[in-house]
């Protein structure tokens, strides 16, 4: 029984050690600002279009589905509130995080994995650079900055999507939709909507880097690491989402 638990516990321990060093490095020199900018571009700017796209469509779909239920109770005027709360609290952060996990956790794991199997990470250590400092920390910082920003944009575009449905299906006036969408939001919701993507960013970047750096077994190993990075980060996003949700629900 204990033997079965040994491997996952060891893996988790390695993960915690890497995370600790990566986070600690953020406050230690040398800082690789070039790498932070490059990664922010790859993660943030690179994901922008697709994030806006899913933001818009999730807003549209939500508006569409809500419209039937709300029409039953004659409460279509509340649409702005509902779309706003669901998007800002839950859907925005989780959808964007899942998307970025699929796009970037895999990208990070495969890039670092290829570097590992072609001895580039060993070469980096041999040439006197800490790979955690040079590879992991810039990705962590870039992700932690860009993911909340992407989430804000996705939330906003999603609200526009909801508005489009309200406007063209029910003739909902502009000010009614946006006022109710704005007024329903409390500090708790906004903070929750920003803390979540920040936490997800930490998960995605660290899990991606962790599996990348641990890659062994040639190109086949790179494939395995990539898959693991996406699966594990997605699972953790949901688990952490639940616990953060629990905390914020109790705060109100």
């Amino acid at each position: 029984m204990l033997d079965i638990l040994k491997a996952p516990v060891e893996t988790f321990q390695d993960f915690v050690v890497l995370s600790g060093r990566a986070i600690g490095n953020a406050f230690r020199s040398p800082h690789y600002f070039d790498d932070i900018v490059l990664q922010s571009d790859a993660i943030g700017v690179g994901s922008l279009l697709i994030v806006l796209f899913i933001g818009l469509f999730s807003g549209l779909v939500m508006g569409l589905q809500l419209s039937r239920t709300l029409a039953t109770y004659g409460a279509t005027a509340e649409m702005g509130q509902l779309v706003s709360v669901v998007l800002v609290r839950e859907l925005g952060p989780v959808l964007v995080a899942l998307l970025v996990a699929g796009r970037n956790a895999s990208g990070i794991a495969s890039e670092l994995g290829s570097m590992k199997v072609t001895e580039q990470i060993d070469a980096m250590r041999a040439l006197g650079t800490d790979p955690t400092q040079k590879l992991v920390t810039p990705r962590l910082i870039a992700m932690a900055v860009t993911l909340p920003l992407l989430t804000i944009l996705a939330d906003f575009i999603g609200l526009i999507g909801g508005y489009l449905i309200g406007r063209y299906r029910f003739g909902l006036p502009f000010s009614q939709y946006w006022t109710s969408a704005w007024q329903i939001l409390q500090y708790n919701d906004v903070v929750q909507g920003l803390v979540k993507p920040f936490a997800f960013a930490v998960i995605i970047s660290l899990v991606g880097c962790f599996y990348g750096i641990r890659t062994s077994g040639g190109t086949e190993g790179v494939g395995r690491s990539t898959t693991k990075a996406v699966v594990v980060s997605s699972i953790w996003i949901f688990v952490v989402d639940f616990f953060l949700g629990e905390i914020f629900v109790n705060l109100t």
Partner: protein, 275 residues
Amino acid sequence: MSAPASSVLRFENVSVSFGGVKALEGVSFEMDAGAVRIVYGAAGSGKTTLLKVALGLVCPDSGNVFVFGENVTHLSENDWFKIRAKMGILFQEGGLFDSMTIAENVAYPLLNQQVSAGRASENGQVGERVREALRFVELESTLEKFPSELSGGMRRRVGIARAIVTEPPLLLYDSPTAGLDPITANTIINLILKERDLRHATSMMVTHRFQDGHLLANFRYNPDSGQIERVVRNSNGGSQVTTKFFVMHEGRLVFEGTQQELKASRDAYVQKFAK
């Protein structure tokens, strides 16, 4: 306990295992300044692990490792960086960074040492040293290219340039000729030979090719003519004096000696590398 001052690399009963499989078992040896060692061994005999332990990339399970007279067995990664700055390594596949140009790759150890020393980079000087190192491997024209645009042999040569650009007192070559055709392999060995005879750095080369060791032990670079020439036996300063051979078998060091001793060995496994 410390090793004598002239000792550059010293292993004391070093053992390493990966998941229960012994990669190194009780390996002991010593290399003085200026020594050249050629490590022969079949695939999986622990040659690469030996180099990785010397570089601190792999931590030994037991035994002691001394580099430049300092016990490095339990050194932290940060302390290792200072030691590694005095070592040059050529990885089996070159280990070049894909995302950087050839010039950036070769400049990397130079810039890195300046960063850790807290000095501002003097770009002109770095550029000149990078060009000089690439001129040495005759690849000056590839400065702005990326590693993926070069052939396997050229990448290996860039790897040599990157290893020697900081003029380290200790050089480690991990199977520099593996997977190369014989002509390219000879070019690589000639470069290693030239480096050895121009700067007299302590070097260790891991290989499974008999020809590599044969070339290093019996030929020398003549700086006056710029040619590689056969060493005349018993002449003073002949390179065979400092060039010695190791043979590794299943993690153990089974032979240590000169080329003559290698040829005279009666061990069937050792004989395979003596032709």
